[in-house]
Amino acid sequence: MSDEATTMDPTPALTIRDLVKSFTGPSGQRTDVLRIPFFQLEAGQQRAIRGESGLGKTTLMHIIAGILEPDSGFVAVGGTEVTGLSEARRDRLRAERIGYVFQTFNLLQGLSALENVMLGLAFGKGADAGSAMAALERVGLADRAQHLPRQLSTGQQQRVAVARALANRPCLILADEPTGNLDAARGRKIIQLLRDSATALGSALLVASHDPEVLSAFDQVIDLAELNQVEPREEEV
């Protein structure tokens, strides 16, 4: 069987049920940001979420990744309930089963491209230069392995970030405005790279963006405004 070959897992890559998240504002008022009754992403599925700034895209991504805790509700990644886990186990889940691509790349400036990709493995399977190099080869940057981020173009930096997210062969790839800091041509390439890589690894892909060009690359686009049942007013708590 090929290394890149995949088999469809009947377990959904992502399940969200009755998710509620609110924040306390400066005046002490609690404001609902997310109220999502149900959302599911099957294994290997690729979806985009459309949403303007301030609608809670990043908050949703952070909750799925276990970085933020919801007020209530159920979130499961690859069949594992994120919301029921301790912080340490959420860290572990994130390290082993989730690949996260950020708008601002979020590469460590003191580390080379290869070392940044190794970070994607370090907290899960363990830092492994061979696997990291394979991930860099997948995004076409093997010859830039020893370059520092500042020695790479913005497009190359985002490809390193993609390689880092893919390095641990996650079951779910989250990409939050992955083309936000790129020009249109580079943005298209990154989205194609993400889609191709997710397909090759059998990973589910969830991309959050407000960029029509990004959204047009996906067959299925979910409008966060429709998915999110938040009342359009602030509530006193």
């Binding site: 809670g56 933020l68 460590l108 907290f123 405005e177």
Partner: protein
């Protein structure tokens, strides 16, 4: 990966890291130097008592007698008679009694008149006796011959066969040259004691030099005494006889206690140095704190990224404390280098000026607690930044919420 991140973190803030490392090194070097130099110098002086238990001399300061008789420093408080020497030598508890006479020099290097007993199986340390290097021989009594200490021979460039005119007095005065000519017949094998830095001549070589008072030809400057086993009882007995009952002579005993009094005179200076060392250690700790804190603040986003990639909070603590420990360890290593430089200077000064052997790497507890203290301070300095890293909100550290 943890070590890679620590290494890169230190390198990313090279200037503040370097300043913190240097301050830790300074603190470490000072702490070890102050403690080791103090204790080792006292031990070196005690070791350099040349195997004698006491010094008998004219009525006066015990410290002056010890410094004059054993360390060849300062002037003799006065003379004693040959009868005094014979009496003490005849005492049953006295193993060896070596008379010495001082009062002349050669260009500042002291001439010490001594009996030929000096070269007869006299131990300056256990299993080490004064000997003349091969090719030479001890001086002959009654002859104007000299055996020169190894350090003095090196300083003066002397060898067997060298002749010289001594100068009168303990300090060099070109106008006060004696007419007598002495010949070097041997070089004393190195002893790492003050004996190495003087010129040894027969007693009468000094006593009967031209210009010296003929009435005092048989007078002595001091008698160096070694007791038979059970020195405490012998010392107490002679202490009573000479110091309490007599009024003409002084017995400087026990030598170690008298040297301890000498070091006690410098206690205030030692206390000041200790306070300075502690102050520098605290400043070093503050510098580590400043370096790690600013590094941690500047890399808040990096730490958030690590958390987003799955690093648990403990990893962040380890990364921040690792930087503190890294600075501490580098500082300690450099501190030992600084101490080596200070100790080497002290060693050379003590060897050439006093003739005592200072052993900077002899075991001293500060060699352990010094680095532990500096490492502990470094880790303590990293505790607050580490706590901040532990409390870091990943979401806040990453890009703003959309």
């Amino acid at each position: 990966m943890l070590f890679l991140l620590i290494r890169r973190g230190l390198r990313q803030h090279l200037v503040s890291t370097a300043v913190a490392v240097l301050l830790v090194a300074l603190g470490m070097g000072l702490v070890i130097s102050v403690w080791v130099v103090r204790s080792e110098a006292e031990q070196s002086f005690t070791r350099s008592a040349s195997g004698f238990d006491a010094v008998l001399g004219a009525r006066g300061s015990k410290l002056q007698l010890v410094l004059n008789g054993l360390f060849h420093q300062e002037a003799s408080p006065g003379n004693i008679t040959a009868e005094d020497f014979q009496q003490v030598k005849a005492l049953p508890m006295v193993d060896r009694a070596i008379p010495i006479v001082v009062g002349d020099n050669f260009r500042g290097v002291r001439l010490v008149g001594v009996s030929d007993d000096f070269f007869q199986n006299l131990e300056y340390a256990p299993d080490h006796v004064y000997t003349v290097e091969p090719g030479g021989r001890p001086f002959q009594v009654g002859q104007k011959e000299a055996v020169v200490g190894s350090l003095a021979a090196h300083q003066l460039g002397w060898a067997i066969g060298t002749t010289f005119h001594p100068f009168h007095g303990l300090d060099y005065n070109p106008e006060a040259q004696h007419s007598e000519i002495f010949t070097v017949v041997g070089v004393l094998a190195p002893t790492n004691t003050p004996a190495d830095r003087v010129i040894w001549v027969p007693l009468e070589g000094v006593q009967r030099l031209g210009g010296h008072d003929p009435a005092a030809f048989t007078d002595l400057s001091a008698v160096l005494i070694r007791f038979k086993p059970g020195a405490m009882a012998a010392g107490l007995m002679l202490d009573t006889r000479y110091n309490r009952q007599g009024k003409r002579l002084t017995l400087a005993w026990p030598v170690a206690s008298i040297l301890g009094d000498l070091f006690a005179k410098f206690a205030w200076f030692e206390q000041a140095l200790r306070a300075l060392a502690y102050l520098v250690a605290v400043v070093a700790g503050a510098s580590v704190f400043s370096s790690v804190y600013s590094s941690m603040s500047a890399r808040k986003r990096d730490l958030a990224i690590l958390r987003a990639l799955g690093a648990h909070r403990g990893f962040l603590i380890a990364a921040v404390l690792g930087e503190s420990a890294g600075i501490g360890l580098l500082g300690c290593a450099l501190g030992f280098g600084l101490y080596a430089a200070i100790a080497s200077t002290v060693q050379e000064i003590l060897r050439t000026q006093i003739g005592v052997l200072f052993e900077p790497w002899a075991w001293n507890p500060v060699m352990v607690w010094g680095p532990v203290l500096m490492l502990g301070l470094s880790l303590l300095a990293g505790a607050i930044p580490a706590w901040r890293a532990y409390r870091l909100s990943v979401a806040d550290g990453l890009s703003p919420l959309s």
